[in-house]
Symmetry: C2
Subunit: 424 residues, 2 copies
């Protein structure tokens, strides 16, 4: 596959880029060290840019400040933020305070995005205190094993996944994390080897790195009910692939097969976008959207949108309307849930299927509850008036909170706007 | 249940009526005997009017001419018709030739409908030659066992079934034959006893008359897969209840229970009509009818209409339209199949669900056949253009024979007329 070389050239940062990024990282590290007291044991440049597995035009620099375990979590947070702020200020950068498992400094220095994250320094096999304490261990594990060739294979994989829109373990993407990509390449040796195997994966595929047997004497593997299970070599109780959705697992398996059966460059160039455009070139059903003001970042808003979508879908189906698809998405200022309907209008009449006529007790209570009963297919049935003849009536009642919908903290139905259009 | 006495009075023929009918029957019998040669062994008045189990205003007289078994079937038919014609002519009646298993004379004498049916005289346990040879045996079995009281119970049962529209074993009604009613009363002793038991019947209910064990030394019961199985005491290979549909069996069980739990006179007065009217007082879906000229009698036309209905329903469902109900009916000159639709209009777009992405061979052939494929719920799917956006387009193609529909001998699609109305 000759074109892979070309792809790699396009996605790999130049030596110039790499050197410049390293310089910036070191400058930040030096500054942090300058302001540190002896509770700071190490300051490290971690993440893909530190391991040479990042893609071109990725200007993310992760700096981890490793504190002594004797420090309280409050002290760690306070000191971590202070060091981050001071370092960025003195270098002329800007920053905001962001929250993951604990607060950290999200800075900007020229074109570089610099995260300064405090954590505890722990050793291999030790229990973590904060969720990010594992990151230095991940880095150590990887740098000891990745060489230049493997790093390039990681980049190809990332580019492939990105083009399929399944790269990233955030709640919106539900795809492959960078760390997962690196582990997969360690396991299979190359991008193509991975795909060769992946095309035959089945749900609940389990991957165990050989190194795990070298590190642990009697490795105990926790059971996971995920589509893909890749044990974290630094913690066997953790599945690195747990954020990957079943849907995206299937996409990876399918497109691995499709790519191998007819390798084409186009798989690396925004494949999902072009697929979506192609799929969208068709007559549409009735489109209904709910629009909400976006009051939080994607990471917080997406799970709530999906919860809402699921809850509303139940009512759509209960009322006999038929969606062809539904999806959530956000823009800078708004969140959307969108439906396309096959059936959005129905006559008033509804048949309710009751119990088999042989089940006397249930028949009795059915007769008590319903009028106009009749026997059909050995069951007692009845006609009833439909509550919603048009799906828009249902949506209006949803926004007016007349329908019991799952509660969401950062999306309020009363702020929702109903948008619809027959033809797109 | 006092009102049962009143009901019985209303449905039982007067003594006057009975005497007059018997006189007419005897007159016909005498005439037939007058014209008979010695191949005629007996001439009998059979059927419910002969057994005193008929309802008021039922003027049907069945006269059976029993021939010697040595006669050929052609001779039997010829002689049977000749005798019937002659007898009716000489009495000043009219007639037509009708066909059941073989031709017979269907006559009219004043208000009386007189069937003159030739058959072979056979004995109990002997093999029948023509299908109607059993009738004299049925009659013999019944008259030996029915008394005045039981005959009245049969009448109550018939009236109840008639009101529910499940009396009659013709292909249109698919209900209880008169003979079946008489056997059921023999078994249970009374109308109410029967209902008491019937309310707890389950599908494949088996009923064996005690007399069968007296008649046969080692009775062998054939297995039947019918909702109700009542062995014919004159032929254990025959299920008297075989024409009864599952639907009507369930109706009988259900309405037996409903009647007993709240006995009301209204169950005897056209109950099904009033139920239907009540059910019809509602908003309707989109109604579509196919109208065909009626070229044959109900007995011939109904099974064909139902075959057509079934075949068309397959296409309706295949094309994603949703009927709420469908039915066949006839008038004097026309046959109809009628549908009421919940969903009769759809957008152009259709999602076709393909194989699971793991089934490579099926995936390959799906890709060959379809464009615009995508992964959804672990399956390969695609969008396709719908052939029919409105169900009327489908019906037009059906009438134009562009859709493969089951062939029917006496209903031709090209003579069909499409009728529709949104509101009734």
């Amino acid at each position: 596959m000759k074109f892979l070389k070309k792809i790699l050239e396009e996605v790999k940062p130049s030596e110039e880029e790499v050197r410049e990024l390293k310089e910036v990282a070191n400058k930040v590290i030096d500054k942090i060290k300058e302001f540190s007291d002896n509770s700071v044991l190490e300051v490290l440049h971690l993440g893909s840019s530190a391991r040479n597995t990042n893609l071109k035009n990725d200007f993310d620099i992760d700096i981890f400040v490793l504190f002594d375990k004797s420090l309280s979590i409050e002290e760690l947070e306070r000191k971590g933020l202070e060091l981050g702020k001071k370092a960025l200020e003195s270098l002329g950068g800007s920053y905001v305070i962001s929250y993951a498992s604990h607060p950290y400094v999200k800075g900007k220095l020229g074109k570089y995005n610099i995260d300064i994250v405090p954590c505890y320094k722990i050793e291999f096999g030790e229990k973590i205190i904060s969720a990010v304490d594992r990151t230095p261990l991940h880095h150590k594990f990887l740098v000891e094993r990745l060489n230049e060739k493997l790093c390039d294979e990681v980049r190809l994989l990332k580019a492939f996944l990105k083009s399929l829109n399944i790269y990233g373990s955030d709640v919106k993407t539900k795809g492959f994390s960078g760390y997962l990509c690196e582990l997969l390449i360690l396991k299979y040796g190359s991008f193509l080897n991975l795909l060769q195997d992946a095309q035959n994966w089945r749900l609940r595929k389990v991957i165990i790195l050989d190194d795990i047997y070298k590190i642990y004497e009697n490795p105990k593997f926790k059971e996971f009910d995920d589509p893909l299970i890749v044990y974290d070599p630094t913690d066997l109780n953790r599945n690195v692939a747990s954020p990957l959705s079943k849907e995206n697992f299937c996409k990876f398996v399918y497109y691995s097969w499709l790519f191998l059966s007819e390798p084409k460059e186009e798989f690396f160039y925004n494949y999902h976008k072009r697929l979506e455009e192609e799929l969208n070139e068709r007559e549409h059903g009735f489109i209904v959207k709910l629009e909400f003001p976006k009051e939080e970042v994607d990471d917080i808003v997406y799970p709530q949108l999906e919860k809402l979508e699921k809850s509303i879908n139940k009512h759509i189906i209960k009322n006999d309307f038929v969606p062809i698809r539904s999806k959530c998405y956000t823009t800078d200022n708004y969140c959307y849930i969108e439906w396309e309907f096959l059936v959005y209008e129905l006559p008033n009449v509804k048949v309710i299927e009751g119990p088999p006529i042989f089940a006397k007790e249930r028949v009795k209570s059915f007769i008590r509850k319903h009028k106009k009963t009749f026997v059909k297919d050995c069951k007692l049935c009845c006609y009833e008036e439909r509550k919603y003849k048009n799906v828009l009536e249902l949506f209006k009642d949803i926004l007016n909170k007349k329908v019991p919908i799952a509660k969401t903290k950062h999306i309020s139905l009363e702020k929702g706007k109903l948008i619809w259009s027959q033809v797109q």
